[in-house]
Amino acid sequence: MNTHARTSHRRPWLVLLWSTVGFGVVAWSLLTLLTTTRAPYPVVALDVLGWFDDRMERIANWPPQSHRVLFIGDSLAMDVRTRRVSVASQLQKRLTARAAVRTRSPIKVQPLTSSGFSLYSHYFVSDDVASLKPDQVILALNLMSFSEGWRSRERYQLSAFISPHRWLEALGLPLHEVGVTVDRLLFYRSIRAIGAFDAWWWLQREQARANRGYWRFAEWLQEWSGYPDGLGYRKEFQKLRFRRSRVFGDRATPSSARALLGAALDGVDPDHAGLQVLGAFLAHVREASIPVVVYVPPMNVEHLRSLGMYNEEGLGLTLKRIRTIVRGHGATFVDLHDVLADAEFTDFMDHLAADRAETSFGAVADLLSSHIQAPHTLPKAAR
């Protein structure tokens, strides 16, 4: 009786101990299996966190005594194929030439650009942007950010960069539309605060690898059975997915244009979530007395017209509302949505064509550079 009582008292701890052993053995076996079968490592959503930290570190080392321009934008501001040419690089060329004539002080344009790094992400990292102390910020505002279809592309993991003193403000903004909920905000911030990004990223990568491991095993089983065609349907699906993406291919279809630009073309409401987030970003940067230029990147107006979807009135309303927000925060607004012809674009998302990158990005940079203050005209605090 006593022995039984002692054993039952110890039992929960024994179970806990053995469960730790069980967890360790199974986890180790799975990892070994994945390594042995060479299951590939796919890109996971959390990659953006590593990317952002690295980029910030690089940018923080500005050349001394330079005039520092920080260019923030997404894939519309760079050549997504070669990644060699971008609005930022073209701007660097033009501003350097101009500054050399006027002031002889070196100008450094640092790009903070990445695919999918758009409106909401800009807000998440606004304090880090301010902490870089640039002399000027140029922001490429992708009008697709206003559409519902775009929101799934926003990276809520970057909410880890919202400073705790901004949380109350953040909770008042409609950030849930891009998946930022209080638990995620706290969780990703905590992960960052305790320096566990790398460990968390490792776990995510291994989990994603386990997902790939399933197909590795499925293929092996099929081969082993002597009926390799059993998974043939996957190829068929891949073909269909590819064909479907080809439909969107080099130019927007009415449905893709509506999904990505519908909100902007119809005219956004004055209290649209995107406008609120843009206003909050600008307010943060303004607190640090950093001048900002917000520009709307070129869109394929010619093609939208041919589709009969170019709603000049609606888009005008959207641009007017953006302008009001931008100017209300003491920033400069530049509208470049209608400066390039159809031939300059490469796909349905209005990325610019790689083979004409020099000229098209150059044209954007030309128009932008005239709106950028030369170093000697900047307020003293910003120099």
Binding site: V15, S19, V26, Y214, L221, G230, G232, F237
Partner: protein
Amino acid sequence: MLFNTAQFAVFFVVVLLVHRAVPSGARNTWLLMCSLAFYTVWIPAYLLLLLFEISANFLLLRRMQRSPRPWIYLRISVAFTLGSLAFFKYAAFLIESVAPMSGALFGVSPPVVDILLPLGISFYSFQMIALQVDVYRGAIEPPRSLARYTLFIAFFPQLIAGPILRGAEFLPQLERGGVVEPTRTRRGVWLIACGLLKKLVFGDFLLARVSEAVFEFPGVAPASVHLIAIYSFAFQIYFDFSGYTDMARGMGCLLGFDLPLNFREPYLSRNPAEFWRRWHMTLSLWLRDYLYIPLGGNRHGPGRMYAALLVTMLLGGLWHGAAWNFVIWGGMHGLLLVVHRSVVRRPRGEREPFTLGDIARVVLFFHATCVLWIFFRAATFEGAWKILVRLCTGSYLGDWPLLPTLVVVACVALHVLERLVRTNLPAIRSALARNPAGAAIEGLALGAVAALAAAASGVASEFIYFQF
């Protein structure tokens, strides 16, 4: 905050540790705070809606008790709760459905509305209505305070996807304040482990990938792949939802409460009536008690009974989602029930032992259920039709996807195993307690499940039932 996320794990550990640390008298207050915090993390503004509905219903409940004409307050309360549910869940669907007719008749189309569905509204609305009706019928005493009523509605383990609680089973537990004891704690740990295994490993990791691909491109793959995809979906939705419920019940146990069983191996049902006594049991009972019986039930002859069955199932289908495919799915289940009722005068009882004929009935009825799942899952009616055509006309020779097939076979085995474990639980428990290696077996199994769940959560998707 989904149960299968790291942030929820952190949240629950904190809830549990504090729950165990505070005096028993303060536990309900702590759970109320946590439940409101749990709901707040999604969209803080919707907490106000939840609290408004709770306060209004509590006020009406009080008035109903004191009034000489309580039915007035009952009707107001039910209309208010259903009105809120209708507005948030069905307004857009209704407008979309009448838009073409309105355009053709009057030349004007109603405006497009974009309303975000408050989390768990279908579940908590039903819970509110059930309590109002039960108090009106005099079946239970109403909760003594607003705080108690709020915790009854918003108790976080079941707030967003059930099981739908009844006042009679949960309010007395709340009065006692939750009884934490080793047996219940152990049951809770096992229920959570089973839930993780079902939801993450089977539902998300093993089953979802084939079914999702086939429903994305209906009619493209060979018939064999379609068949496996339909089986996969049938088990996916079961493991997803019952896994979630297991986790909810497990958390309830760890906090000292017993939440009701929601599934009893539904795919081992021999007929439609038995299926609905085994599938989403708390919803089925709700529909029976608050819809089917008030509509007349079986008291007014076969005609009225069949009509009541059909209406109940149509509305039950609509409860699952504001779309025509759910209505069709519910209606078809209603038809199955009507046909079964009209053909079989005395259906076999659940407790009657299985015969060879029963095995054939189970297989037959499982396939009927699978066919209806096609309408439930397909994005369009045309898609569902393509799948049916491919299933009926395609070739089943060769091209079998082996791993997905093995997974389906494993699911069948697991389903049977569930029945065996559930019906022999006391014997298994005492065998483990007697065995000197019992703690090691139990621990190793729990650890293995945790590791598999962690590995599988790389493809974590939202619980399917959240959209309802």
